[in-house]
Each structure stands twice: as C-alpha cells, then as structure tokens.
Symmetry: C2
Subunit: 144 residues, 2 copies
C-alpha cells in the first residue's frame, strides 16, 4: 500500500504544480495582465506620460491604493518609469518603458481579437443559456 492517502498525494501534486506555475513566465505575465487595473493603466499610458492624478481621473473607479499598487508593480517589472519632480507641490509622472510598450502592443492584439470575435462569444453564450433554461438546469448563473 502507498504511504499516502489519495488526498495527501493530490495535495502534494497541488503544491508542486503551484511552484511550477509560479516559476512559469507565461503564467506570471498572465497574472500581471489579469490584475484588474494593469491593462487599463497600460492602455492609458500608451498614448504618453501621465501624472498620478491624471491616471486617477482616467481610471475613474480606482482607489488610490490600487493605483499606487498597480504602478509600483509595473515599475518593479520595468514596464513603467516613475519620475518625481520635487517642486511644491510634488509632481510625479509615469510613462511606459520600451518594454512596457511591448506589453501595450500585446494588449492591443488581445483587444483586436476580443473585438473581432466577441459577437461569436456572445452568440455562444446566448445559445448556451437558452439551452440550459429549457432543460430546467440552472448551470452557470449568467456570468461570473
């Protein structure tokens, strides 16, 4: 007999897989893109440098905390530069680096795909939801 229960083996597999996923560049990047605000911030900066408060206005619903957090993460990854002008009051500008521009291009590709094929996705959803309705099962509650 094995020295582990099935649950223990799955647990171990999970831990290993998690480690694997964390070290995978693709997944790390995906993680970054999925950070709710990163995509928006990059898009906002893709047309040129912006001040902190300009960004706060462009990304209407964001909280100061998340804006800072997002920008710090992007800065750490070398995707944006942070320029402090020690005037009174202080002025901080953010701009994309060449690397960040590359990310913006990637984002544009995603955007293009999304806009091109979104009708198909919408149709598929409606079909799926309609079928689910008729057979009485609730399935997925409309959206996440």
């Amino acid at each position: 007999m094995p020295t582990m229960t099935a649950a223990q083996r799955r647990e171990q597999a999970r831990v290993e897989y998690d480690a694997f996923l964390r070290s995978c560049p693709t997944n790390q990047l995906l993680g970054r893109l999925s950070d709710k605000w990163v995509g928006l911030a990059v898009a906002a900066l893709s047309t040129g440098s912006l001040r902190y408060s300009d960004l706060a206005r462009k990304l209407a619903g964001i909280s100061p905390k998340m804006l800072t957090q997002t920008l710090r993460a992007l800065e750490r990854d070398g995707l944006v530069t942070r320029t402090v002008t020690p005037s009174v009051p202080v002025r901080v500008d953010y701009a994309l680096t060449p690397l960040g521009t590359g990310l913006a291009d990637l984002l544009k590709a995603v955007k293009r795909w999304a806009e091109t094929h979104f009708d198909e996705v919408r149709e598929a959803r409606e079909r799926y939801d309609a079928d689910s309705d008729t057979d009485g099962t609730a399935a997925v509650p409309a959206d996440r």
Copy 2:
C-alpha cells in the same frame, strides 16, 4: 456646494466604471484569461481532444470542482465542445472549437512574449528590489 461627498462621488464613479468595464470585450476576455486554470486548460486541449480525467491528470493540482467550472465557462463561451458518449461508464470528451483555437493562438503569442522578455523583467525586478533594500524602505515584499 455639491450634494455629494467626495466618497459618494467616487463610489458612483466606481459603479459606472465597473459597468463600463464589464461591457468591454477586451476586459471580459482578460477576465477569462486570468481565471487561473483557463490558460492551462486551453493549452492542454490545443494538442487535441481530451477526456475529463485526462485533463484532471494534465492539470495536476486542480480540484474536480474547478475543472468543471473552468470547462463550463469555456463551453458557454463557445471555446470548447463537450461531447458525452453514453457508454458504461460514461465518457466525456472536450475539444477546442475554431474559436478556442484562436484563443490558443493568442495565448501562444503571450507565451512567446513572456519567454522573450522575461529576463528583462527579472533584471528590472532585481534592480528595483536592490534599490529598495539600500534605502531602507521595504516597498514591495518580493512579489504579490
């Protein structure tokens, strides 16, 4: 004077922006991609059709619940097909649709970018972390 406090105005902006974001195809797609397992599942299926249990094995650490949830979401969006063969025992196959293949291609582009530029990101991170250390501030605790 305004009839709302600053907090109330931000709150309203947040709600409106949320609605805007939800209706934005790009963001919806980004949301999908960010679902921890979607990328992996699509990658796994990109080489051909697989059974439920095969997927469970390929995505080592996934729980049955998340696997089903992920597959259902993809099916709803018309990205994968679900084929039930009513034998004993039951057999269920999942495969990418043409639309899903398109998504897989997109994912490959992301992967390519990630692998090409990840060194730069890593360097940037090390530089950033080193600088933060020397000036005594803790800043970002290594990663998210």
